[in-house]
Symmetry: C2
Subunit: 160 residues, 2 copies
């Protein structure tokens, strides 16, 4: 017999206003899936950050208001959010995967020295590429551009 932390109930004072997560709630109900405090808070934390976050960063943040939240739950929830179209997963280099609540199209710049990832809000005309992909029998879903190089800080350090 093992000892388990109790889950925090939905009515918990830590999960007061799920107004911001209405979209998640209705998507979950549509699919017959449950609305849990973990799911609400993980999305809230992801949205609160301007920068991309790793699963572990999200977990640390969620732990403050929802102690006991486990890493497997964070991973499962982030993957669920991606599936629901409420988050994006960015594979930048070998390290940890990044998650981002900004789902509107934008590109990323990855520093090859410090690993920093920044957004690049510039239009990308991926149309011809997607057409070419379709032509080969592939069913394209989305296109993601990653620009690698040196971030401003690392470039300056290296010049010195």
């Amino acid at each position: 017999m093992r000892h388990y932390n109790k889950c925090v109930k939905l009515g918990s004072p830590n999960v007061r206003s799920p107004d911001q997560e209405r979209d998640l709630i209705s998507l979950l109900r549509e699919r017959g899936q449950r609305v849990t405090s973990q799911r609400l808070l993980i999305l809230r934390e992801l949205r609160r950050r301007r920068r991309h976050a790793t699963a572990h960063e999200i977990r640390d943040a969620v732990l403050r208001s929802l102690p006991g939240t486990s890493i497997p739950t964070v991973y499962a929830t982030l993957e669920l959010l991606v599936e629901l179209g409420l988050a994006r997963r960015i594979d930048a280099g070998a390290g940890a995967a990044l998650y981002d609540a900004r789902v509107e199209p934008h590109q990323h710049m990855v520093c090859r020295r410090c690993g920093r990832v920044d957004d690049l809000d510039e239009e990308l005309d991926a149309g011809p590429l997607l057409d070419a992909a379709s032509g080969s029998g592939f069913q394209p879903d989305r296109a993601e551009l990653v620009i690698s190089g040196l971030c401003a800080a690392c470039a300056q350090e290296r010049a010195a």
Copy 2:
């Protein structure tokens, strides 16, 4: 005292004709680095494959002609080849990193179901993106586009 496998000497019958790796040899000599049979064979194996390969696939292939080749050596060599501009590293999804001897610009399609990675030989006009990146202080190095979706086989299976 530990027991070590002997390295295979350069003159080994397994590394007969390094003609195809002349570029690697001269690059190494320029930098004062050594020409080893591991480096020659790893590049040869990488070039022999039409598809991208993981470090472990390369190791398995190299092991046949050069028993004892170790994983750390394969990783170090692949990274060296990338640094020398003779190979490319592709980060497609969470799994293993892929390496590719095709260094001329081309894009990749990743199947979100089976993980298959295919080349897409289509021009990508990343100029404006790179300019925008430069404008923000970033020093762009290269741009890589990954299109995710369903490969032909998986799309067909799913339709059935």
